[in-house]
């Protein structure tokens, strides 16, 4: 039986693009930004540099929030006061990630978690990483539980820059 012509296409190879058999155009955009932190995040970062976690409080909604903001998004009034909260909290949820942000495969997985910070309203906290929780999935899943108590591990004071990375990670804390 005669093979029908063009029944299957010819697959494109990476090489075809490289040698210009298939033409494309390329462009790299210089999309660089410097975001103004403003009042709330500016002061929050100042606090992190000093090893403190600062929150703001709305008395009407009885709500203490971190990262702080100058207005309450519930009642839409300015926040009433700044308070320092503890650098401990509980794991609200976590995941075990085998890829870095740019999809580079990781030997040792990262453990992103939402940490509810002690002193803030229930459910309020921030995204960070867990550390000292094991090097592989089995170890991590044995140690990390939703609701587990954690404590911040800070960079040495002279290395802090006023950024969320001034906290290296949160590690398990004895109950």
């Amino acid at each position: 039986m005669m093979k029908p012509q063009n029944a299957r296409g010819v697959p494109l190879k990476d090489e075809d693009l490289k040698v210009g058999k298939v033409l494309t155009t390329e462009w790299r955009v210089k999309a660089d930004y410097a975001w103004d932190c403003g009042i709330a995040i500016g002061r929050y970062f100042d606090g992190l540099k000093e090893g403190k976690i600062l929150a703001t409080r709305c008395r009407r909604c009885r709500r203490t929030v971190v990262p702080p903001r100058i207005f309450c998004e519930w009642c839409f009034k300015p926040m009433d006061e700044w308070v320092e909260v503890r650098d401990t909290g509980r794991v609200n949820t976590f995941s075990v990630s085998y890829f870095s942000w740019d999809m580079t495969p990781l030997e040792k997985p990262e453990v992103p978690a939402v940490v509810e910070i002690d002193g803030c309203s229930p459910g309020v906290g921030f995204m960070h990483l867990l550390g000292e929780v094991g090097d592989n999935l089995d170890e991590i899943l044995r140690r990390v539980k939703v609701g587990m108590k954690v404590r911040a591990v800070w960079k040495p004071a002279d290395q802090r820059t006023g950024a969320i990375t001034d906290i290296l990670y949160f590690k398990p804390e004895e109950e």
Binding site: A31, D32, W35, D36, G38, W74, F76
Partner: protein
């Protein structure tokens, strides 16, 4: 008959070259608080929110997700559109006109100072296959258009320079403006060539700031303490993105958006029926081009009328009494909202030192900037 829609609240920050003291959220919060106070409304009365933003200007992809908190819009219907401010008003207007909602909020802001290489972002808006590889500074588009406009209409470079002098002088009476100044047409003509015939002073410099407007159906507007300003007509239009296929001398998008708005407003002779206008002047020649496209002057006459004082605050048809973008600063897609803000303030009699006497009908027009040929037109009235 369809129920009318009014602008019932305006809120704004001042416009300034830099704003490191506030985040974009804090800046928008200020404008939103003012708008709610001005309208005499609590955020829970607003049924729908429309914001304008462009991810590449915010530095965050899917920026629309970051809109609600600072507007009081958490867990409310929110829509962010990637167009200019007047098109956002059109969207809110339609949502009210359908009867689905009673009160809508429209927000636009610029943190232009946070974009470190704005020319690179503008270049990224060019066609990636045909135009970007030529490696040109995007402002060449304005150079091409200004030359064609002058050649086709007979307006002159000297007349275009007068636009800058007028608008920057108008801005001296606007406490919100970032770039008020006394400059002469000679100063403009002598400024550094950027993409000839466009020179440095012909270009509106960037500014940071936020504008929030609250809209309501007439039945609600009548119950509020603020003086309603009614939307009599609104139009928006988009021309081809291809630089080699558009009409370089005419602003067809403005002409057609204007016709759409005039038809709704029942306006037959804009020159006679529009009391004053805020038109886009991102580049000085655009003001004259837009004036002609909107029928506020005949083709080729805008420059002569300008030099005779026709568009000055005390002339028969004041244009950009606020100072325009040349005087206030260019707020990207919020620029159209800033123009609408001025029309509302004038129609309410709240424009302070620059208040125009006896104004009843005002027009605001927007252009979306290089390399676009799109924009909107809105006709507002205090009656």
């Amino acid at each position: 008959m369809r129920e009318r829609v009014a602008i019932v609240g305006v809120g704004y920050t001042s416009f300034r070259p830099l704003s490191p003291e506030v985040s974009f959220r804090e800046m928008v919060f200020e404008a939103a608080c003012r708008a709610y106070a001005d309208a005499g409304l609590e955020p829970d009365r607003v049924g729908t929110f429309v914001a304008v933003s462009e991810d590449y200007l915010e530095g965050t992809s899917i920026f629309d997700e970051y809109v609600p908190d600072q507007l009081g819009a958490v867990l409310k219907p929110v829509q962010t559109i990637c167009q200019d401010g007047i098109t956002a008003i059109a969207s809110a207007y339609l949502q009210l006109a359908t009867g689905l909602f009673e009160v809508a909020l429209v927000e636009g802001h610029a943190k232009a100072s946070n974009v470190l290489y704005p020319a690179h972002i503008e270049a990224f808006a060019m066609d990636p296959v045909f135009v970007r590889p030529l490696g040109l500074n995007p402002r060449f588009v304005a150079g091409l258009e200004m030359r064609s406009f002058l050649a086709q209409t007979g307006n002159t470079e000297e007349q275009v320079a007068l636009v800058v002098a007028k608008n920057k002088a108008n801005a001296l009476k606007n406490p919100l403006a970032a770039y008020p100044a006394l400059v002469t047409a000679e100063d403009v003509l002598a400024s550094r060539p950027v993409a000839t015939p466009v020179k440095e002073l012909d270009i509106a410099p960037f500014a940071d700031g936020a504008v929030v407007l609250i809209l309501a159906r007439e039945s609600v507007a009548r119950t509020l303490k603020s003086q309603p300003v009614y939307i009599r007509g609104i139009g928006w239009m988009q021309d081809t993105p291809n630089l080699d296929q558009r009409d370089w001398s005419q602003a067809s998008y403005a002409e057609l958006a204007g016709r759409m708005a005039y038809r709704q407003a029942g306006i037959r002779d804009p020159k006679e029926e529009i009391c004053f206008a805020e038109v886009d002047d991102t580049f000085s020649y655009k003001e004259l081009q837009h004036i002609e496209a909107l029928g506020l002057a005949r083709c080729g006459e805008a420059g002569v009328l300008l030099s005779e004082g026709y568009f000055l605050p005390d002339g028969p048809l004041p244009v950009n009494v606020s100072g325009g973008s040349l005087g206030n600063g260019y707020l990207y897609d919020a620029s159209g909202l800033r123009s609408v803000l001025e029309v509302v303030l004038q129609l309410r009699g709240q424009a302070g030192e620059r208040q125009l006497p006896d104004v009843r009908v005002g027009l605001a027009q927007s252009w979306r900037g290089i390399p676009t040929a799109s924009g909107g037109v809105i006709i507002l009235s205090n009656e």
